[in-house]
Structure formats: structure tokens, C-alpha cells
Amino acid sequence: MFLQQIVNGISLGSIYALMALGYTMVYGIIRLINFAHGDVFMLGAFIGFALSTRFSFSFFPALLMSMAACAAIGMGIERIAYRPLRESSRIAALITAIGVSLFIEYTMMYFVGARVRAYTPLLPSSIYTFRGVIFSFQQIVIIATTVALMLLLNFIVLKTKRGKAMRAVAADMDAAQLMGIDINKTISFTFLLGSALAGAAGVLVGIYYNSINPLMGSMLGMKAFIAAVFGGIGSIPGAMLGGLGIGIIETMVAGYANSMYRDAAVFLFLIIILIIKPTGLLGSSSGEKV
């Protein structure tokens, strides 16, 4: 039973981790909590749904197209809503982010309705048993996709020129600009990466839970945001660790204590972590983060 709960926790945590990366990268680079991130995730789920039902796309094309579309949407949001406010107060940008989030949610609700719909079965739902632990093919795909995307992200951030630029802008925007780094391009690129991951998470969640609706991004987005803070906002390994951590804590509380206290326990852990280590598990205390 314990191993089963670990499997449950890791699958849930992988999704939180994919989402948390988007929050943490954007925060790391422009110190903005992008509340619209959860809604980009929701759009990703709906785009995958539309592609697979209308144009009968299979899993990988639907996943890639949805990631591409979400990347474009994320960059668009940054260009239209956040860039004009880059020099204004942080609270103005934050309120704008909430506005964008509500705008996306209720625009989608206008077009697709509030009802819950079932997802297209893009992956076979075969079940495997290994030493009494049950896991599904979908769980394997989710974990594998998450690991692959994280490795890719790590490579981009650590080994490419673009990634170096991102790290430079995150460390000191003015100095980076003086060194000839195109700030706008770098920030756009950050949104591109984060939103593509959100799009992938959207399709994976749609398949895994077989249920999508226009408000699905708000609760999941908040949990992912907590995961990012838990792991240390601004830190990419922290987001991965935070996502998995929150997923496993939730599962363990629901599995061994009372399912009613699941969400309360998550917040309690967050508070404890922030009291002991205000920057989160892997957050650095440099600069003015958190």
C-alpha cells in the first residue's frame, strides 16, 4: 500500500512539477507571479481536446501542437498584458495577471460552457501490476514525459546561449542589458518555455483524469504555485522538487490521515517550510527574491 501511494503521489507530483516550472521561471526572471499560467494550462488541455476530436490527432502530435499553441499564447499574454507594465509597480502587474486569468477562464466558459467534459482516450488505459503495485500505462507516460521535458529544460537553461541569457537576466536585468542581451527576447523566450510546459501538462491531465472544464486551471494552478514556493520560487530544481513533494504529501495525507485535511496539510507544510527557510527548500537568498 505504501508503494502504491508513492506511485500515486509521483504521478500527481509530476503534473504539479511541470506547472510549477512555469511559475518559477517567470518569477525568477521578472519577479511576477503569473496567475494566468493555470489558465494557459487549461487552454492546453482544450487545444489537445479540440485537435484530437476535430482532427483526430494522436497523442504525440496533439501534445506537440498543444505545446506550440500554448507557447504562442504565453508569449502573446506577455507581449500584450505584461510588457507595457514592466516599469510600473509590481502590484499593478500582479493585478493584471489576475485579470488575464479571469479573462481567459470566462472567455473560455462563454465559448465552451461550464460543463465538465470527458477527454479523448489518446492513450490506452492498460494496467500493470508489479509486486502488488498497480500502475497504468498513462502514469508511465506522464512520468516519462515530465522527466524528458525537465531534462530538456535543464539542458536549455544550463547549456545553451539562450539559457545563459535567461540566467543573466534573472541575476541582474540592467547588467544583462548592458552586456548586450536582448531583454525582451529573453523574457519572451521564458514565457515560451513555461507556457509550452503548461500546454503539455494540460494534455497529460486531460488524458490522465479524463475530465476538463474551463476552471480546471485555477485550483491546480494554485497547487503548482505552492509547489514552486515550497521548492524555492525562482529555482528550477526547486520547482521539480516542490512539485513532487506536494504531490506526495497530498497523497500521504489523504492515504494515511483524513482525506478532508489534504489541502489544509499542504498549506500547513508550506507555512512550516516558509518559517524555517523563508526562501523555500532550494531557493537562494540572493537579491530580493520572495
Binding site: Q5, V116, A118, I134, V205, Y209, N210
Partner: protein
């Protein structure tokens, strides 16, 4: 900052199955206004026209024909109209035709109050049918009591303060012909213990709705009284999607049945994930399962050995049900009737039956006839009106196999 997120919980978009519990406070102020309006109407219309003994018998129909739960009202009225048309075609009641006075309460309780007053005081109806939802139906109770005209609902299933007020007194002019929410819990507990012969049950409930809480409570009490054990009681919140952790825990308790009081949005996912985790026991639910979306969410294969209670099933083989289905299909482009249409049809026939038995054709006479009803035969089951003005009625338990309804049986339980 996360607090801002809480402000838009997805719960606000969920429609209560039979009850649109809107802001209680606002409703109350609206009710007061509506009552004032009703009083004004009484003063204006004093001594309004007497009911002639030869003219048509007027029956008020006060339903949600537009607004949030319009489909409940429209379907109910379609059933009522069909029943009344049949009665008029057969010569009416005691040589008099039945005339329906139909108003739209726009799914607003305050509007339901003023329409009830209008029907009773200006249109001089002998009884009012509807509204469909508990919230709006409750709003018509004061008018019924003060005008001494009975109101009857076919689908207001809320447990509290409908036919019996907060102090436990029966509202003399208020009746319903459907079972209450918690009665479904009683029925499913009997079904678990007697039909499925289960000893150990788990309850996995929606902790965010009164409907689910009422069901869980009555299921637990009844199942334990029948000698069963509730081995685990778990909860989820409407909008959750991941139930695997709790299901893994439930599996370890080795239950024989799982009861899920809640709505199909989550129940569908719970069933899918339970089957994936290898939980092969029968899964039970109530009328919140009644949606075609349940099969989409759970997947057809998972929906095997699933049972839920409902008012009516098209699979019922009794002659009256099959005749009703055939007649309904003939009149409605071959579409099979749903539960609301069946309940509406029963309500139309029921009121006609009561009027024909009434000593005097007025509110008082019809009220007495309703209260004395025994063994009325309807498509949603035969029933008598009990002392608490609720019907003593069998619940239909529908069995799903591979996503399809394969069986329906009436489970008789004393209420």
C-alpha cells in the same frame, strides 16, 4: 495572494440537482418584498370571481420555464400537459374540463412566491403544481398556507422544511409526490444489506453539498441498523480530480460495497480510478448519477456493477410505464421521457385523481383528497400520501453494465 484564488472556486458554476440553493439572505429579502406584493394583491382582488360549478377546473402551473434550471421546469410541464390533455380527451373530470394556468417563475424563488399568490387569488385555481426545485417550492408555502390552496411538487426532494416546517409541524397545504434525498440513502443501504448481502461498506462522499451529506447520513444510519459495518468514511470536495490516494486506502479496508453520495462529475472519475486500482466491488450512488456524461467520464467498461437510485426507469416493465413511454414517444418524435417528464406526468394524473375524489372542488376539498390518497398508481411508482405529506413510495434502483442500463428494480422500504 492565494486568497484571491479562493474567490473563484469552481463550485459557483455547479447547479444543484434538485435544489438551487441561492443566497439565502437575498432570497429572504426578496420573499419579504414578494409577501408585501402578495398582500397588496389580496387587498386589490378581494371578492374576486367565484368558481362557477360548470366552467373549467383551473389548476395553476408555476414552473421554471426560463432561467438557471429551465430544463427541469420545461420537462415537468411537458409531462403535466400530456396527462391533462389525456384527461380532457377522455371527458374531463365530472363533465368539466381541466384548464392549466401556466406561469414562468424564471427559476427565481421570489417570482415563484408572487406567481403562487397570483394563481390563488386572481386565477382562483384549486391547486398549484410546482415549482420543480426545492428552493422555489419552499417559497410558495406561505401563499398556500394563507390562501388554503394546496401546492404540490413532483421533484422538490430537499429533506428539510418542505412538507414539514422547522418546528416539526406538517404544512397543511403542502405536498410532494417524490421521495426525499435522504430516503435514497435509506433505500441504498437496504439494497446493500439485503440484495447485495454486504456486511462491510465504505462511504466516499462529496463534503461540499447538503445533498450528499444527507445521503451519507441516512445510508450510514440505516446500514448500521441492518447489522452492517461502515469500514471507512472518506470525503472529497466538488471539483477534485485525483482520488487515487483515498481509493488505495479504501481498497486496503476490503469493503464489499462503496457508496458515493454526490454528482456524476466526480463520481464518474471516482469509478474510473477505482476500477483502475482493482476495486471490483459494486459501486452505489443516488440520482446525482443520472446523466449520460457519467459514462463518458468513467468509461463504459468501468461502469459495470454500478447501481443508483432514481425516480423512474424506462426499463420498468410494468404496463403503465410502457404505455406512457409509447405515448410519449409518439407525441415527441420518438424521444424517450426522462425522470422529470415522468414525474410531471404523474403529477398531472395525480391532481386530476385528487380533484375527481374531492368532496368540493375548491382548495380545501382538493387538499383533503390529496391527504387521503392511497395507492395511486403512477409511472414513477405507486404511492400513498403519508402523514408527513410525503409519498410512501418505492425507489427504483438502476443497474449499469458496460455503461448501459441493464436492469431496474423497485426497492420497497418503509419510510
Amino acid at each position: 495572494m492565494p486568497i484571491l484564488f479562493w474567490l473563484r472556486s469552481p463550485k459557483t458554476t455547479r447547479a444543484r440537482y434538485f435544489d438551487t440553493s441561492k443566497g439565502e439572505k437575498m432570497k429572504r429579502t426578496k420573499n419579504v418584498l414578494a409577501m408585501l406584493l402578495a398582500i397588496a394583491l389580496v387587498l386589490c382582488s378581494c371578492g374576486g370571481g367565484n368558481t362557477a360549478d360548470t366552467g373549467p377546473i383551473k389548476i395553476g402551473v408555476n414552473y421554471e420555464l426560463s432561467g438557471a434550471v429551465a430544463s427541469y421546469g420545461i420537462d415537468s410541464v411537458r409531462g403535466i400537459q400530456m396527462a391533462i390533455d389525456e384527461i380532457n380527451a377522455a371527458g374531463g373530470i365530472k363533465g368539466r374540463t381541466v384548464e392549466l394556468v401556466i406561469y414562468d417563475n424564471t427559476s427565481e424563488p421570489a417570482e415563484a412566491t408572487s406567481l403562487a399568490a397570483k394563481l390563488m387569488e386572481q386565477d382562483n385555481v384549486v391547486a398549484c403544481l410546482g415549482p420543480a426545485t426545492s428552493g422555489s417550492f419552499k417559497a410558495t408555502i406561505p401563499s398556500a398556507q394563507s390562501n388554503k390552496v394546496p401546492v404540490i411538487s413532483a421533484s422538490a426532494t430537499a429533506d428539510k422544511e418542505v412538507t414539514v416546517d422547522a418546528n416539526g409541524n406538517v404544512n397543511e397545504y403542502v405536498f410532494r409526490i417524490c421521495f426525499t434525498d435522504s430516503f435514497q440513502g435509506v433505500t441504498m443501504a437496504n439494497f446493500s444489506a439485503n440484495t447485495l448481502n454486504a456486511q462491510n461498506a465504505v462511504i466516499f462522499m462529496d463534503s461540499a453539498s447538503d445533498y450528499a451529506k444527507g445521503l451519507a447520513e441516512s445510508y450510514r444510519a440505516t446500514f448500521e441498523a441492518l447489522g452492517g459495518n461502515i469500514v471507512a468514511e472518506e470525503a472529497y470536495v466538488a471539483g477534485d480530480t485525483d482520488f487515487r490516494a483515498v481509493l488505495t486506502k479504501i481498497k486496503a479496508t476490503n469493503p464489499e460495497v462503496m457508496f458515493i453520495p454526490g454528482y456524476y462529475e466526480e463520481a464518474g472519475l471516482i469509478i474510473a480510478q477505482a476500477r483502475e486500482q482493482g476495486i471490483d466491488i459494486p459501486i452505489l450512488g443516488a440520482d446525482g448519477f443520472d446523466s449520460p456524461t457519467l459514462a463518458d467520464l468513467a468509461g463504459k467498461e468501468a461502469l459495470t456493477d454500478v447501481f443508483f437510485s432514481n425516480h423512474y426507469s424506462s426499463l420498468d416493465e410494468s404496463q403503465s410505464v410502457q404505455d406512457f413511454i409509447a405515448a410519449f414517444k409518439a407525441a415527441n418524435n420518438d424521444v424517450a421521457p426522462n425522470a422529470f417528464e415522468a414525474l410531471g406526468y404523474d403529477l398531472g394524473n395525480f391532481i386530476a385523481d385528487c380533484v375527481s375524489r374531492a368532496a368540493t372542488i375548491d382548495g380545501e376539498g382538493v387538499k383533503n383528497a390529496i391527504a387521503e390518497t392511497t395507492n395511486f398508481v403512477g409511472v414513477t411508482g405507486s404511492f400513498s400520501i403519508g402523514a408527513d405529506h410525503n409519498p410512501v413510495k418505492a425507489v427504483v434502483v438502476i443497474e449499469l453494465n458496460n455503461g448501459e442500463q441493464v436492469g431496474a428494480q423497485r426497492v420497497e422500504v418503509s419510510q
